[in-house]
């Protein structure tokens, strides 16, 4: 069966460092993959989309990579800030009727 794995343990980093979050998936080759941010008590907010023919995508301090051989996407936040603290969800398009989401990784940036 298709699975999406994100590190369930919270990631704690110091302000100014680069945060790297991992998303692994199995048993499928998604045409694209999306990343979302979710704050407590709020709905997820779209951040970035990367397609299978793109190795890397950037938006301001955010960078996403997509390795279709490893079946993995990495999400980087450079020069992290306490305001970046949130849960980050990856969502590969698994060919079904809608996006399938990982359970998310909580990022805590310490000042």
């Amino acid at each position: 069966s298709q699975k999406i794995e994100q590190n369930s343990e919270a990631l704690n980093i110091q302000e100014g460092k680069t945060a790297t979050l991992t998303c692994n998936y199995t048993n499928y080759s998604p045409a694209y993959l999306q990343w979302y941010r979710q704050d407590p008590g709020r709905g997820p907010v779209f951040l970035l989309l990367i397609r299978e023919n793109e190795k890397e995508k950037r938006k301001e301090r955010l960078k996403v990579t997509f390795d279709t051989t490893l079946k993995q996407s990495l999400f980087h936040i450079t020069a992290s800030q306490p305001a970046d603290s949130a849960t980050y969800l990856c969502a590969p398009y698994m060919g079904r009727r809608a996006l399938t989401f990982g359970s998310g990784t909580r990022l805590q940036v310490q000042p």
């Binding site: 999306q34 989309l49 009727r97 809608a98 399938t100 989401f101």
Partner: protein, 111 residues
């Protein structure tokens, strides 16, 4: 702001009672979705709609029904609520690039 409104935002009900959650959008989008979010499970698709009166099941559709009689409204009904349906429910619509825009969520507690 994607113009999505969910109601009610919070509801407490008793086992066996019917519950209807409403999702209203002002963007005239064709695709609408209902997800539930539970600790450790992430977002799971309940039902989705690809047009007025056109709906289909997601991965966790048992115990839920939906209706879409107008483009702007997508209703999720629990015919007879159970404690396992205690969750946070999110409605979403698809943007032009394939990204999802989510509502603020409806927190349902079934006692």
């Amino acid at each position: 702001d994607a113009g999505i409104t969910q109601s009610p935002r919070h509801k407490v009900t008793e086992t066996g009672t019917p519950v209807t959650l409403r999702c209203h959008q002002t963007e005239n989008h064709r695709y609408m979705y209902w997800y539930r979010q539970d600790p450790g499970h992430g977002l799971r698709l309940i039902h989705y709609s690809y047009g007025v009166k056109d709906t289909d099941k997601g991965e966790v559709s048992d115990g839920y029904s939906v209706s879409r009689s107008k483009t702007e409204d997508f209703l999720l009904t629990l015919e007879s609520a159970t404690s396992s349906q205690t969750s946070v429910y999110f409605c979403a619509i698809t943007g032009q690039g394939g990204e999802l825009f989510f509502g603020e969520g409806s927190r349902l507690t079934v006692l």
